[in-house]
């Protein structure tokens, strides 16, 4: 307790000339659980582990599933804003990892894929964190499928957010005509950039995750 007081004293001393900008990172990861892509969920665990190892105290992380309608807090599997103290942050990361393991064991597939809803939800979450660097990771084949009543064909806002599509696997139809795959990615890039995103990026090889987070 005494140590904390000493720390507060020093922090107060430094507060007079503190940098008002936020230097923390916030990452929102969308995990597609629809159709055949549900088989890839185990790879999502690897990405989450990488993020847990890379994120620093004070950063935020949330993992949400992409279902038929994903614009909901209920779809968030695990979320945490890591404590400023490294020891507490490590404990939070352990709990987070366990939550993710439980999710990968017990997830169920969905009929449709609402990536746009997940993006809107992620954007709201990231804005609330007030982090300086915001990133949405989309772990999906980027094939959006909506039911007839779900409305997502309107402009969305992703201002100052980096959007990274990870492990965008090719569908059977993409193999028949690769232009479908390239066109799909191009369409998403246009939509994301039109939404004001800072950057759009695709990382298919999960061995090269070091570019996922950027200062």
């Amino acid at each position: 307790m005494k140590r904390r007081h000493f720390g507060f004293g020093l922090a107060a001393l430094a507060a007079g000339c503190a940098d008002p900008r936020s230097h923390s990172q916030a990452v929102y990861m969308l995990v597609d659980t629809s159709g055949t892509y549900a088989e890839e969920v185990n790879k999502a665990q690897l990405i989450v582990n990488y993020l847990l190892g890379t994120l620093q105290p004070g950063d935020s992380l949330a993992v949400a599933r992409v279902k038929s309608r994903s614009f909901s807090e209920k779809d968030i599997v695990a979320k945490a804003t890591f404590d400023n103290r490294p020891s507490q942050a490590n404990a939070q990361k352990r709990v987070f990892r366990e939550q993710m393991e439980a999710f990968t064991r017990s997830h169920s597939g969905s009929a449709y894929t609402d990536i746009t809803g997940g993006l809107i939800q992620g954007s709201m979450f990231l804005t609330e964190t007030g982090a300086g660097h915001k990133t949405i990771l989309i772990f999906s084949d980027m094939q959006e499928e909506l039911d007839k009543v779900t409305v997502r064909d309107f402009p969305i806002t992703l201002k100052d957010i980096r959007v990274v599509a990870v492990n965008v696997v090719k569908l059977r139809t993409d193999n028949v005509d690769p232009r479908r795959y390239l066109g799909r990615l191009e369409a998403w890039q246009k939509r994301v950039e039109a939404a004001g995103a800072r950057e759009w990026r695709v990382i298919n090889d999960i061995e090269h995750l070091d570019g996922v987070l950027k200062g």
């Binding site: 720390g7 020093l10 922090a11 001393l13 430094a14 004070g58 400023n84 990361k93």
Partner: protein, 485 residues
């Protein structure tokens, strides 16, 4: 077809065009000769004058600065030599108080021992009593002729027997007396030894005093040289300051390395106190600044500690404090330093724990089966113990930086002043050279101008020669301008 530039009188032939232009311009150049000469001369003076003036000013300033540096250096040297002499006198005073204070006792002891030796010597001189006076009577009796008289013979035999008895008794007495004297002489040895030891001790003390006196003589000679401001003293002081400067710089660099290690030890655990997510600038964490602050506070406490111990003399106010107040301050500085050292040791331990925790987390995230094989081994504890010990020792080690810091500050004034004087002199020489160059350049340009208009000048000369038959020595353009002005 390409159009020729407007100035080309002969299309397609630039050289010929230029020549034509030159011929056209030549009369105008001749007409403008005097103003152009004056202009070039004025430009030379205008540019060269300030350069030369600046050079003179810089040389004067360098001279003044050197003189001021010399005064400061000598004053500093005088103060230092004075302090050293005072310290030597203190040592001599201490020596006199400690050693020569016991000199009367030593003298009394020596006198006692000498008196005792004398008394014993006198005792040795006592001889056994001389034989009795009746020996002459016995000699007379012994010379008596018995003539076969039985009575006389018996009498003489009786006398002989008695004398033998007496002789044996006397001899025994004599031997006993000598034995006594020998035993007294034997008893002299410890006294001689003690006397020898006491004298050696006195000699040693006197030698030490002589050495101190020689040291004071040397310091006094140095002090006199400084007071009389000799070149030798100045040179010696400058060399001494340079040596001090480089040695102090070296030690400070080494100490900076120690401070860096110290910083590495406490920067990570400080994030447990002030948080790891706060930044003071884009790349500077608050925890790192807090760690730096701790190190600087430790160095400051070390500085105060050295100051209150009167090892350094950076703060005159601390030296002006009364002794009880100074001691109080000493204990406060020491307590704070000790507390900070304890905190650092704890932080070093925490750093180790945090790293171990992070490592365990990373291993669990990597999902590899790296069991912590040597975690319970005593070998694994060595780095932890090493970090704790380093965390505790480094603040105290940093405290000693105050000594080289003082030397650095004191010698930096001399070294910095000498370097500044050298730079100013170099600058002055450069400016002077530049000024001379500009003036010479103006002369060269004037001559070049005259070469350009050599034809009109030749014509002018011919006309002048025809008008005035007596030839006058031709003046160069520059000389002509100078003379006319």
């Amino acid at each position: 077809m390409m159009e020729s530039p407007f100035w080309m009188i002969v299309p397609g032939n630039a050289a010929l065009s230029a020549l034509v232009w030159f011929v056209i311009a030549m009369p105008f150049l001749y007409a403008a000769r005097k103003p152009v000469h004056e202009l070039l001369h004025a430009v030379g003076v205008l540019a060269g004058g300030p350069l030369r003036s600046s050079s003179r000013w810089l040389l004067g300033a360098a001279h003044d600065m050197r003189e001021r540096n010399r005064q400061v250096l000598l004053a500093h040297g005088r103060e230092e030599a004075g302090q050293q002499i005072a310290r030597e006198f203190e040592r001599v005073s201490l020596l006199v108080t400690r050693d020569l204070e016991g000199y009367p006792a030593l003298q009394r002891r020596l006198l006692d021992e000498i008196t005792r030796v004398e008394e014993d010597y006198k005792k040795c001189g006592e001889v056994p009593p001389p034989p009795p006076d009746w020996i002459d009577a016995i000699n007379a009796v012994a010379n008596v002729k018995s003539g076969g008289n039985e009575l006389v013979t018996r009498l003489l035999e009786e006398i002989n027997r008695s004398i033998k008895d007496i002789h044996e008794k006397t001899l025994a007495e004599y031997r006993r007396a000598y034995e006594e004297r020998h035993s007294i002489l034997d008893g002299f040895m410890p006294f001689w030894r003690s006397l020898d030891k006491t004298l050696a001790q006195a000699d040693r003390k006197m030698t030490s005093l002589t050495d101190r006196a020689a040291a004071i003589d040397a310091q006094m000679a140095r002090f006199e040289q400084i007071v009389s401001k000799t070149e030798r003293a100045e040179h010696a002081l400058t060399v001494s300051a340079l040596t001090q400067f480089f040695v102090a710089t070296l030690v400070i660099v080494v100490a900076a390395g120690g401070a860096l290690i110290n910083f590495k030890l406490i920067a990570l655990p400080m994030s447990e106190m002030v948080g790891a997510g706060d930044y003071l600038t884009a790349s500077l964490r608050t925890s790192e600044v807090a760690a730096l602050v701790i190190i600087f506070v430790e160095a400051t406490m070390g500085l105060f500690l050295m100051e209150t111990l009167r090892i350094t003399h950076l703060f005159p106010k601390i030296h002006a404090l009364s002794d009880p107040m100074r001691k109080r301050m000493l204990w406060i500085a020491f307590t704070l330093l000790l507390t900070l050292a304890g905190i650092e040791a704890a932080l070093a331990l925490m750093r180790d724990m945090l790293i171990a925790d992070k490592q365990a987390l990373m291993q669990s995230l990597a999902a590899t089966a790296h069991a912590a094989a040597a975690t319970d081994s005593w070998l694994a504890r060595i780095p932890t113990i090493g970090q704790i010990v380093l965390g505790f020792i480094l603040p105290f080690a940093l405290a000693f930086v105050a000594i080289p810091l003082e030397s650095f500050i004191a010698s930096a004034r001399t070294v910095g002043g000498a370097v500044l004087v050298m730079v100013m002199r170099l600058l002055a020489v450069s400016l002077r050279l530049a000024g001379s160059f500009v003036r010479q350049l103006a002369r060269v340009l004037v001559t070049l101008y005259d070469i350009l208009i050599v034809l009109p000048l030749l014509l002018e000369r011919l006309v002048r020669d025809r008008r005035a038959p007596t030839p006058t020595p031709a003046l160069s353009g520059f000389e002509a301008v100078e003379r006319s002005s």
